[in-house]
């Protein structure tokens, strides 16, 4: 039962994030929403992979039944990539704010079009 509750919660987290990207006007909120959906997928992957064992995948003496290390290693990569994308997106947002004076995506679009 808890399995389904966890999955359902992650599903909702993903939907909330997607809704933020889709409907929020503020670009900072959009970037955060992007992080939300990435986290939802990352946590889902690691959580599901951890159900097969009890211990962290560090094979010291006497450790058996470790969790699946593959999702953890892969998601490590995905997390770093997502951090990098976020950093650059925030820099872009800062740049947009400095050039157009707004965080609202519609305002920014309008002003960028006026300028060019």
């Amino acid at each position: 039962m808890t399995v389904y509750v966890e999955r359902m919660l992650l599903f909702l987290l993903f939907l909330v994030g997607f809704w933020g990207i889709l409907a929020k006007k503020n670009i900072i909120k959009k970037i955060f929403s992007l992080n939300l959906i990435t986290s939802a997928v990352v946590v889902l992957f690691i959580l599901e992979g951890s159900r097969v064992g009890d211990h962290a995948p560090i094979l010291s003496d006497g450790i058996e039944r470790v969790v699946d290390p593959v999702p953890q290693a892969l998601m490590l990569t995905a997390i770093v990539i997502s951090v990098c994308i976020t950093a650059f997106a925030l820099a872009l947002a800062f740049h947009l704010y400095k050039t157009t004076g707004s965080f609202d995506i519609d305002d920014i679009r309008k002003r960028a079009q006026d300028e060019s």
């Binding site: 990569t77 995905a78 994308i85 997106a89 947002a93 947009l96 050039t99 995506i105 960028a112």
Partner: protein
């Protein structure tokens, strides 16, 4: 040294070059720094050609280098495969890469940081087409993405950072869907490599059922965002129009095609691939048609080129999808795929050429609007261009994309038409070709002479200081123009080679090319005349009105995600 290691030359050498360029920025100053940077670029863009030369016999013989990076266990390690198609796409990447970098030396953005990012992009493109590991593909696509966001933002034009931001948001979101799709497939099959996934799916009832289908659709849709097929194209016009010209050439020429051929590697073996290919084939043909209508409606020169790229990628995708549909083991499939690749390659050449020559022109004349600017040749002459090289190069590119013999566009479009004859695609692409002719007549207005303005132009140019056009700009443009011409003339030798590299030809497949038959010439004549007529229609009053309405249809940021969701939903219903 193992002989197999040579396949990593196009990946590791540009990376090494990038590291050298970055090193030169951090440690050296003045001449030595520039020297080391150029050495890095030469190493990264030049040396891989030796590897291509070395691997050419094997590529045409239909052999494949396969293996796991570092020789690890196949269940976890990263598998790669280097075959004829990889070889061909590598040639595409590196020829456009050289021209674009050379142009950037003269026209900017230059400097070690640009070279570093550019070389990293080249390396990632080469890896994208070499890898057969789904998660590695994910990482490659992310690197490819972030290099292009950074390169677009480098231009510093107003709006460029917005274009970069829109592209970033939509493609990063799409990549999260890719990751989710990867999760779905991993969960079903426990494999990361394409081969393992396919074997896993074949062992399941109904090939994994709805979960497998949906996971696959997410991966396909995420890659299609990069390919910019309609309706996922809305990020492209801004990004390609506002990037620096050299980067635009790279984006339009290479970046939208490499993911498509990487996708081919997944779909070619997977059971659901055939159906996806069929759907995408029709989408591609429609993209070609609508893209060209939008191109015709644009006034900004570079936006017109960007929309035209969407239309041309539609040509490629329609033949590509058809090839998947009929199956790559059949002769027709091989011919279709070879034509699709050839058009992708030739489009990369002439579109890069067009972007570069138009870029030079609008930089020098200061106006991007095709309806306002006239007499660019005169202006360029005043700026020290005695022979109108830029105009001639533009002419080469425009004639090539309008499929006028003997340029390469004529060859690849005729081959496509041959392969697609008898399908709905053929008709749609024919109409699109007429539209292409019309839109390039419109674009060429920028060079039309206008006698009465001559004095005003003289005065304007004389009042502004200018720099001479750097020789590298001319060199890069002329290089592309000559390759376009050769590609058209030597098609009878090139096409059979491409066919052999794409797939082992079965019995009775003799790729005979009779380009200059009466039929083809008549067809070209009809399309060209149709294009001229269309241009006249478009410049008439009602035509202008319709195009104005089309042009005013502004896409919204939200629309990018709406169309992505719609594509996912529709694809999953159709498969």
């Amino acid at each position: 040294m193992n002989p197999d290691d040579i396949v990593f030359a196009p990946v590791i050498l540009p990376l090494f070059g990038a590291a050298l360029a970055l090193f030169s920025k951090a440690f050296l100053k003045g001449r030595p720094a520039v020297f080391l940077e150029y050495a890095g670029v030469l190493l990264g863009l030049g040396l891989p050609w030796l590897a291509f030369l070395q691997t050419a016999p094997m590529a045409f013989a239909g052999n494949t280098f396969q293996g796991i990076i570092g020789g690890w266990h196949p269940a976890i390690g990263i598998s790669y495969s280097y075959d004829g198609l990889t070889w061909l796409v590598n040639i595409l990447i590196f020829s456009i890469g050289i021209a674009a970098w050379l142009y950037s030396v003269g026209a900017g953005p230059k400097g070690p940081v640009f070279s570093t990012v550019f070389l990293i992009q080249i390396a990632t493109l080469a890896m994208t087409i070499t890898t057969t590991d789904l998660f590695n593909l994910f990482v490659c696509l992310e690197v490819m993405g972030i290099t292009s966001y950074v390169l677009i933002a480098f231009s510093g034009k107003p709006g460029a950072s917005l274009a970069s931001f829109s592209y970033l948001m939509v493609s990063a979101t799409a990549m999260v869907f890719f990751l989710l799709g990867f999760y779905g497939l991993y969960r079903l099959t426990g494999a990361i490599s394409y081969l393992g996934i396919v074997q896993g799916l074949q062992g399941l009832a109904d090939f994994g059922g709805i979960t497998a289908n949906i996971s696959l659709v997410m991966i396909v849709a995420a890659i299609l965002v990069r390919v910019a097929i309609m309706p996922l194209h809305n990020w492209l016009p801004d990004a390609h129009a506002l990037a620096p010209h050299a980067v635009s050439a790279m984006l339009s020429g290479v970046l939208i095609k490499v993911p498509l051929f990487a996708l081919l590697r997944i779909l070619i073996t997977i059971p659901q691939g055939m159906r996806i290919g069929e759907v995408l084939g029709y989408t591609g043909a429609l993209t070609a048609l609508f893209g060209v209508v939008l191109a015709l409606s644009q006034r900004d020169a570079k936006r017109l080129l960007a929309y035209s790229s969407i239309s041309q990628i539609g040509y490629v995708v329609s033949a590509w999808g058809m090839a998947l549909q009929v199956g790559m083991e059949t002769n027709l499939g091989i011919i279709l795929m070879a034509s699709a690749f050839l058009h992708a390659f030739y489009h990369a050449l002439f579109k890069a050429l067009l972007f570069l020559s138009i870029g030079t022109t609008i930089d020098r004349t200061g106006v991007r609007d095709v309806l306002v600017r006239r007499g660019s040749i005169a202006i360029l002459r005043l700026q020290g261009e005695r022979i109108p090289v830029t105009f001639l190069c533009f002419l080469c590119g425009a004639l090539a994309i309008a499929a006028i013999p003997p340029f390469n566009g004529f060859a690849s479009k005729t081959l496509l038409a041959h392969a697609l004859k008898g399908n709905l695609h053929y008709l749609l692409l024919g109409v699109a070709s007429a539209g292409t002719v019309a839109s390039y007549i419109k674009l060429s207005r920028i060079y039309w002479p206008r006698a009465k303005d001559a004095e005003a132009i003289d005065a304007m140019v004389a009042s502004e200081p200018f720099h001479r056009i750097h020789w590298t700009i001319h060199a890069s443009q002329s290089f592309l123009a000559i390759v376009c011409l050769i590609g058209g003339m030597a098609i009878t030798t090139i096409f059979p080679l491409v066919v052999r590299a794409v797939g082992a030809p079965g019995e009775g497949l003799e790729p005979s090319v009779s380009l200059y038959s009466v039929d083809n010439l008549i067809q070209t004549l009809v399309i060209t005349l149709g294009g001229g007529l269309l241009y006249l229609l478009a410049s008439s009053k009602p035509g202008c009105r319709i195009l104005y309405l089309l042009r005013r249809q502004r896409h919204t940021f939200q629309g990018l995600f709406v169309s992505f969701a719609v594509v996912c939903a529709v694809l999953s219903v159709l498969i």
